[in-house]
């Protein structure tokens, strides 16, 4: 009996000390982690919307969406972070869209876990710059092995077709969702 109490007391004591220590560290780290994440999104918004000077988070949607403004406070369009499944894990991207949502202004890959050296190339400028001024009607298409001939086409990375197509699919899904919301908004 004495042993049982000793065992319980030891584990409880270690647990309490550990909990107290961790809550202190967490209190210190949490605001910094949130600030880091915010700074990253902010930086990405200005990458995908190069003329932007300020932005505003739109709260009425159930997904993240930012409206972007130029120096004179005129609306330039939107910045839309979106995520979906890639080849090995979740991919998080952000795209810049014009006001009518028919033109893609830029793409930045925020998070990805694709194969290093192959799929991970989707985050590199050589791939993402293809998305600049891409036509969004009817939707983006990834072509393989040939130079894109239509204004809504991009070339998939050789050896990383799945990752390339995943990016295209995520963008198309996100835009579909945004358009649906815009439509319902007009009807109201």
């Amino acid at each position: 009996m004495k042993l049982v109490i000793h065992m319980l007391a030891t584990l409880t004591l270690i647990g309490i000390i550990s909990g107290a220590l961790l809550s202190e560290v967490s209190n210190w780290a949490e605001p910094k982690i949130i600030a880091n994440r915010k700074a990253e999104t902010e930086r990405a918004i200005f990458v995908v919307q190069q003329d932007a000077k300020s932005y505003k988070k739109i709260d009425s949607t159930d997904f993240e969406l930012f409206e972007v403004f130029d120096a004179n406070n005129n609306s330039l369009g939107y910045a839309l972070p979106y995520e979906g499944n890639g080849f090995q894990g979740k991919i998080r991207i952000i795209v810049g869209l014009n006001k009518n949502i028919n033109n893609l202004l830029g793409l930045e890959v925020l998070e990805q876990l694709e194969t290093p050296g192959l799929g991970a190339k989707v985050a590199e400028t050589a791939f993402t710059k293809q998305f600049k001024n891409l036509l969004l009607t009817p939707e983006i298409v990834a072509v393989k092995g040939v130079t894109p001939s239509n204004p809504n086409e991009i070339e998939a990375i050789t050896g990383a077709t799945i990752s390339s197509k995943a990016i295209v699919r995520i963008i198309n899904d996100g835009i579909k969702r945004l358009k649906a919301i815009q439509k319902s908004g007009e009807q109201n």
């Binding site: 042993l3 000793h6 065992m7 584990l11 270690i14 220590l21 967490s26 780290a29 910094k32 876990l113």
Partner: protein, 218 residues
């Protein structure tokens, strides 16, 4: 009781003789997974060393208070606390590094080097000795991860610590940064170190025989 090895021995044994990767073959999961570049290897090893040193210190300090029946649970609690601290600090101060190491930082909790050292060393030795041992093991881990990460980065991307070392016409071997490259590199390195050890032993043996024959002849 036999006399204890000197403090410097306690440190050096982790570097080579008892190297956690090449000799004890412990903690290979993070070793194989994160060594796609030298910097990742260094960061992983430093994070592990931090956890190892502090866990060893605490475990050694409380070693006489913990009942044997719950020692493993207590060690894991102590280790998990330090791992969570490392994880939070990295996320707050080095978000880029924390992203590239991903889930492997929280997984340090189950790294067998750490639990192994608590069970085999810190629970039986004084705090000072345990910290020296932890530093030695950590340095051995750092050495192994740095060598592995550098080799894979040199052949896989043509760079080391982000600086280009291979000539421009060099075509990177993709396999080196894929998981298969990790197994190949680690296997070859272990083979080399074993070859060196057996070679050394053979020479020592021959020397003894030679000496014996000399004595016999006179």
């Amino acid at each position: 009781m036999s006399s204890k090895p000197s403090l410097s021995n306690e440190f050096v044994k982790g570097l080579w003789e008892n190297n956690p990767i090449f000799k004890q073959v412990l903690g290979t999961c993070p070793t194989l997974a994160v060594t796609v570049s030298a910097i990742n290897g260094i960061a992983m090893a430093l994070a592990t060393t931090f956890v190892l040193v502090f866990s060893s210190l605490i475990v050694s300090l409380v070693r006489k208070l913990i009942p044997t029946q719950v020692r493993i649970a207590s060690y894991i609690l102590i280790i998990a606390t330090f791992v969570t601290i490392v994880d939070l600090v990295m996320k707050a101060q080095f978000p880029e590094l924390s992203k590239s190491l991903g889930p492997y930082i929280p997984l340090i909790v189950v790294n067998c080097i750490i639990l192994g050292r608590q069970e085999a060393f810190a629970s039986k030795n004084s705090p000072f000795r345990s910290v020296i041992d932890a530093l030695g093991m950590g340095s051995g881990f750092l050495l192994a991860l740095f060598v592995l990460g550098s080799l894979r980065e040199i052949f896989g991307s043509g760079t080391i610590l982000g600086l280009q070392v291979m000539p421009n016409f060099y075509e990177p071997w993709l396999i080196m940064i894929l998981p298969a490259g990790a197994f190949l590199t680690l296997g070859l390195l272990m083979g080399l170190s074993n070859f060196y050890v057996t070679h050394k032993k053979k020479i020592e043996k021959e020397n003894i025989i030679q000496e014996y024959l000399k004595i016999k002849a006179t």
